[in-house]
Structures are given as C-alpha cells and as structure tokens.
Symmetry: C2
Subunit: 111 residues, 2 copies
DNA sequence: ACTACCCATCAACATACGTTGATTGATACG
DNA sequence: CGTATCAATCAACGTATGTTGATGGGTAGT
C-alpha cells in the first residue's frame, strides 16, 4: 500500500503531475468539475449555467481533458463531458504521499 | 465524516483553493515539497541541491508559503522551511470530495 | 437542399507567471 | 567596526495563460 504510493509519485512524470494541478488551479475549471460531480453534462448545459461564452468553456474543457480529469462522449450533435474519478484518485494519492513522513533520514548539510 | 468534507469545500473560498492548486502546479515547487517532506530545510540547502539562483528559490518558496503549504522559521541568519501537512491534508479532502458521488439528483436540462 | 444548432478551433489581445541579475537588510564573525 | 553570508525584494524581460469574437465542420430537423 505504502510502496504503491511511493511508486505512484516516483514513476509518474512530473510534467504530467504539473498539468494535473494546473488544470485544477482555475476557478472556472473547479466550478466545472463541481458541476460534473453531479453527473454527465453537455457543453450547452454548462454555458447555460455559467452564462458565459461557449469558446471559453470549450477552452477550459480542453485543459481538463488534456490533464485527464474529464472524458467526453459525442452523442448526436452534443458532446457530453464527465468526471474521470480515477484521475482524481491519483491526485489524492499524490498528495497523500507528500503528506506522509518518509522512512529514511536525510543527509546533513553544512550551511 | 462525509458532511465534514462537504463543508470543507463549500465553505472554503474558491480563490484560496485555486492558489493551493496553483502552488502545486510547478515542477520546481513540487521538487521543493518532495524535499521538505524529508524534513526542515534552509534556503541555502535548497540552492545547493537544485543548483540554481537564490532569488528563483525565494520566489517559489514565497508562492508555497502564500498558499499555506509551507511555513518558515528564522534562526540566526538562516530561514528554515518545512511542510505544512495540514494544508496538504486539506487538499486531499478537497479532491476526495470531488471524487465522491453526490447524494441528490441533478435537475434536468433541455438542450 | 436549406436552416438551425452544437461545439472546436483560430487569431488577437491583455494579463499573469517565472527567470535573471542587482540591490538591500539583517545577522554573524574576524 | 568592517566584511562576509543568507535571504527577501525589485525591475526588466520573455513566455504562458485566459478572454473575446469570428470562422468552420458536423449533425438534426424541415
């Protein structure tokens, strides 16, 4: 369990992790995720709710998708977005690993 | 337990959350956190390890500190930084809340 | 076919962010 | 004292990011 988490962070490319956190570091995108938490939604629903330009939402949805936090599914002329809970759990593990105390000791340092 | 998490995210200002994730969305800062995970460190230690300019680290440490992820403690002419594990646990809860399925149902929408 | 709708993409712009090198202040040490 | 060290801050710069309005491609309905 513990070992799993170690490798989770260690083996993961830092760039991918950075993109994950970056995707989460925007108010609009957080609100989108909160919304998607309730279930699948199409873009038109979101533009309705957020009362904002469509291209703006499209932009943010793309950031979330590139980070792997959401998935999309076309149906007719709509595209439905939904949360990727696996990615979120990965974020949880990442942070959990940081929170834990390491086993070994650190080498000293002369200032 | 579940209710706690709900209020954790709901009562929290989104701006603060955004700053948290933003602080985590940089490779240098992630490496600093990984380092601090092993224990308290002064800036000179970090400049040594990362072989980079002092002002650069100072900048990133400030971002981390403003987000509440680290704390600093002056001692003599050095300043020691350490992880704020409470803040990290807060991040964990935030993400956990997003991951969970909500209880109620969403209102429908006509496209 | 024609029109209406949904969405992604683009170009242009403004703002935010990270880097670098220099300066400043504070502490320690001779 | 004078000098050296540690670290925060500043100004200047280039790049990344988010916003807006316009365009275009695909699907549905008439």
């Amino acid at each position: 369990m513990y070992k799993d988490r170690v490798t989770t962070l260690a083996s993961r490319s830092r760039g991918k992790t950075v993109r994950l956190f970056h995707a989460l570091s925007d108010e609009t995108r957080l609100r989108i995720l909160e919304r998607l938490r309730e279930g699948e939604q199409c873009v038109c629903e979101l533009t309705d709710v957020f009362k904002t330009g469509q291209s703006r939402l499209s932009f943010h949805l793309r950031v979330l998708k590139d980070a792997g936090l959401v998935t999309d599914r076309p149906e007719g002329r709509w595209i439905y977005y939904s949360l990727n809970r696996d990615a979120l759990r990965e974020v949880e593990d990442l942070v959990a690993w940081l929170t834990e105390s390491p086993s070994g000791n650190m080498p000293g340092h002369r200032c």
